[in-house]
C-alpha cells in the first residue's frame, strides 16, 4: 500500500505541453481515417433524409454507441476524472446527474419522437400546432442550447490542445473548427455518426486500458486503491464533501442535468437515424450502458490519479484537475500512452462539436428556412444547400466564438445549456406528445419563458454574480436556474393553453396517436 508514494517520488517530470510525436501521429491517423469515412459518406449523402438522418439506416446498437459518443465530451472525461482526483467522491455525484436523464429519454421521449418527427425535435412540437410560430421559438431554443454548449467545447478544446500538444490556442481552435465542419459539410449525419462511433470506441477502450494499467499498480484490487487514497488523503475522500450543501441547489442542478439531457437537440436528432421506434428504444439501452460504464471508469481514473499522481502535482498543472487523467496515463503507460489518450481527447472534442454543428444546421435549414421562410414547401436540394451553408456559417461562428471567449470562464455555459434544454425544449416537447389541450400559444409561451428565465436567472445567480462578477451576494439564490425556469415553462404552457383553447390542434390529437403509438405513417 505504500508503493504509491514511492512511485510518486520516482515519477519523471511530465512531458505535457510539449509536442508529443506519438499523439500527433495518432491524431493525424484519426483525422485521416475519419476523413476517409467522410469521403465514403459523401457519396451516399444526396437526399435530405441522408444528410440529416443517415438515411435512417443506422442500427440500434450503432446509434447507442453514437449517442454515447455525442454525450461523452472531453469535458466529462477530463473534468469528472479531475473532479474525483481533487475532490474525491463529489465527482461521482456530479456524473450520476448526467446519467439519470437517459432512462427518462427512453420512458418519455424516444419512441414518440422517432414516430412523429422527421429531422428535428421541433417536427414533433409543431406536428398539430401552427408551424411558423412553433418553428421560430423552438429553433431559438435549439440554437441557444447549441451555442452555449459549443462555446464551452471550443474554449475547452483550445485550452486543452494547447496543454496537450503545445499547440497555440488560436491554431487549435482553427483546426477543430475546420475538421469538424468538413465532417458535417461533406458527410452529413452518416459521417458524423461514424465519427461518434469511432470516438466512443477509442474513448471507452482508452479509458478501460488506463483503468487496467492503474489497477495493476494495486494488484488489481480496488480495495488497495481506496486504501492508498485514505492513507494519503483521509477517509473523507470516499464520502460526499462540500459539493452539495443546499438541497434546493441540488434539486435545481439535478433537474437541469436530468431533464436537460432529454432536451439536447443533438441528442434528440440522433433518434431519426434509426429505422423505427424499436431501434430507438434499443439505442437508449445501449447508450445508457456505455455511458454508465464510462462514468465508472472516470471514477476509478480519478481515484487512481489521486493515489498515484497525487493531488498537489495535479493541481499544480491545472487548478480544476483537468489534467489528472493525462498525468495518470503518462505515469502508468509512459509517453506513448499519454500520446494515445491525448489524441483520444482531441478526437472526442471534434466528434462532439460536429454533432452540435449538424443539429444547429438542421434547425436553421429545416425549421427556419423551410417552415418559416418557405411556408413548409421544401425543395429538397434547396434545403440541403441551405443546411450546408448553415454548416459553414456555424463552423466559422464556432471558431470566432472560440477566439472571442479565449481565457474567459465558460464552465457555467454547460450548466446553462442544460438549463435551457430542460426549460425551453423539454417541457414543450413532452406536453406536445402527451397533452391533448396543448396549444400553439401555450408552446410559444412555454419555450420563451423557459429560455428567458434560464438566461436572466443565470446572470442573477451566484454562478455569474459571485463567481465571475465578484459581487458579495447574488440576487437569485440558486446556482442553476432550472428549478424555477422549468417549472415556469410548464406552468406557462399549461395556463396559456387552458386560457385560450385551440380546437384545431386538439382535433388532430386523435389521429396523431396512431402515429405516436403504432408508428403508422412514420417517416
Amino acid at each position: 500500500m505504500y508503493f504509491a508514494t514511492i512511485l510518486l517520488q520516482a515519477a519523471p517530470a511530465s512531458t505535457l505541453g510539449t509536442a508529443n510525436p506519438i499523439s500527433i501521429a495518432m491524431f493525424f491517423l484519426f483525422v485521416a481515417v475519419t476523413m476517409y469515412i467522410t469521403y465514403w459518406a459523401a457519396k451516399k449523402t444526396k437526399t435530405g433524409s441522408e444528410f440529416y438522418a443517415a438515411g435512417r439506416n443506422i442500427s440500434g446498437f450503432q446509434n447507442g454507441l453514437a449517442l454515447a459518443g455525442d454525450y461523452m465530451s472531453a469535458a466529462s472525461f477530463l473534468g469528472i476524472a479531475g473532479m474525483v482526483a481533487t475532490k474525491g467522491y463529489d465527482g461521482l455525484i456530479y456524473s450520476i446527474g448526467f446519467l439519470v436523464g437517459w432512462p427518462l429519454i427512453m420512458f418519455l421521449i424516444a419512441e414518440p419522437l422517432r414516430n412523429l418527427g422527421k429531422y428535428t425535435f421541433a417536427d414533433v412540437v409543431a406536428y398539430r400546432l401552427r408551424q411558423r410560430p412553433i418553428r421560430i421559438v423552438s429553433s431559438v431554443g435549439s440554437l441557444l442550447t447549441i451555442a452555449f454548449y459549443l462555446i464551452a467545447q471550443m474554449v475547452g478544446a483550445g485550452g486543452l490542445i494547447r496543454t496537450l500538444f503545445g499547440l497555440q490556442y488560436e491554431l487549435a481552435v482553427l483546426v477543430v473548427g475546420i475538421v469538424m465542419t468538413a465532417y458535417v459539410l461533406f458527410g452529413g449525419m452518416l459521417a458524423t455518426t461514424w465519427v461518434q462511433i469511432i470516438k466512443a470506441v477509442l474513448l471507452l477502450g482508452g479509458a478501460s486500458v488506463l483503468v487496467l494499467l492503474s489497477l495493476a499498480r494495486f494488484g488489481f484490487s480496488p480495495a488497495a486503491l481506496f486504501d492508498s487514497v485514505t492513507t494519503q488523503y483521509g477517509e473523507e475522500m470516499l464520502a460526499p464533501g462540500g459539493y452539495i450543501t443546499n438541497p434546493f441547489d441540488a434539486l435545481s442542478l439535478g433537474l437541469a442535468l436530468m431533464l436537460g439531457t432529454a432536451g439536447l437537440p443533438h441528442i434528440l436528432m440522433r433518434f431519426y437515424t434509426v429505422p423505427d421506434a424499436k431501434a430507438a428504444r434499443k439505442s437508449v439501452f445501449v447508450a445508457t450502458g456505455f455511458i454508465g460504464y464510462f462514468y465508472l471508469l472516470t471514477f476509478l481514473i480519478g481515484f487512481s490519479a489521486m493515489a498515484l499522481v497525487g493531488k498537489a502535482p495535479i493541481e499544480s498543472i491545472d487548478k480544476g484537475g483537468n489534467m489528472a487523467a493525462l498525468l495518470l496515463a503518462e505515469q502508468t503507460g509512459g509517453t506513448a500512452f499519454l500520446g494515445f489518450i491525448a489524441a483520444v481527447a482531441f478526437a472526442t472534442i471534434l466528434a462532439v462539436v460536429a454533432g452540435l454543428t449538424l443539429s444547429g444546421a438542421s434547425s436553421i435549414s429545416h425549421d427556419l428556412y423551410v417552415h418559416v421562410f418557405k411556408n413548409g414547401i421544401s425543395d429538397e436540394q434547396g434545403e440541403i444547400k441551405v443546411a450546408k451553408r448553415a454548416t459553414i456559417a456555424l463552423g466559422i461562428l464556432s471558431i470566432v466564438l472560440g477566439l472571442v471567449f479565449k481565457g474567459q470562464n465558460v464552465a457555467f455555459m454547460v450548466g446553462l445549456a442544460f438549463s435551457i434544454a430542460a426549460s425551453a425544449n423539454f417541457p414543450a416537447l413532452l406536453m406536445s406528445i402527451i397533452w391533448k389541450k396543448f396549444t400553439t400559444r401555450g408552446a410559444v409561451w412555454s419555450i420563451a419563458t423557459g429560455a428567458i428565465l434560464s438566461l436572466v436567472l443565470i446572470v442573477l445567480s451566484p454562478t455569474i454574480m459571485v463567481d465571475i462578477m465578484g459581487y458579495e451576494e447574488a440576487i437569485f439564490p440558486l446556482k442553476n436556474p432550472a428549478l424555477v425556469s422549468m417549472s415556469g415553462a410548464f406552468l406557462m404552457g399549461i395556463v396559456v393553453s387552458l386560457l385560450q383553447p385551440e380546437p384545431a390542434a386538439a382535433a388532430k390529437f386523435e389521429s396523431e396517436k396512431l402515429r405516436t403509438y403504432l408508428g403508422v405513417g412514420a417517416e
Partner: protein
C-alpha cells in the same frame, strides 16, 4: 356479431384495445420514471441532509456512499433494460396486432 378484419383509423383509435395499449404504455413509463426520480432525488436529499450516513464505513476503506453511487448507475441502466424487455415482449406484439387492423 361480425367483426371486420380492417377498421378505419378512427375506429382503431377508439377501440378498447388501443386505449388500453396507450394507458399501459404510460403506466409502465410512469412507474419507471418515478422509480428513477425517487432514487436520484432521494440520493441527493441524503447527500444534502445526512452526509454522515453515507460516510459510514461498510468495509475496510469502503464507505456506504461508494456502493450506493455506483448502484444508482447500475439501477438506471437496469430500468432501461426492464423497459426494453417489456416493450419487446408485450408492447410490440400489441402494436403489431393493432397496426394490422388499420386500413
Amino acid at each position: 356479431m361480425q367483426i371486420p378484419d380492417t377498421h378505419s383509423p378512427h375506429e382503431v383509435i377508439n377501440s378498447p384495445a388501443f386505449r388500453q395499449l396507450v394507458r399501459r404504455r404510460w403506466s409502465v413509463s410512469l412507474v419507471l420514471t418515478l422509480a428513477m426520480l425517487t432514487v436520484y432525488f432521494g440520493f441527493l436529499l441524503v447527500v444534502a441532509f445526512n452526509k454522515a450516513y453515507l460516510a459510514q464505513m461498510v468495509g475496510k476503506n469502503l464507505t456506504l456512499a461508494i456502493p450506493v453511487g455506483l448502484g444508482i448507475i447500475l439501477f438506471a441502466w437496469l430500468l432501461t433494460g426492464i423497459y426494453v424487455y417489456w416493450a419487446n415482449n408485450h408492447y410490440d406484439q400489441e402494436v403489431a396486432n393493432l397496426k394490422a387492423k388499420v386500413k
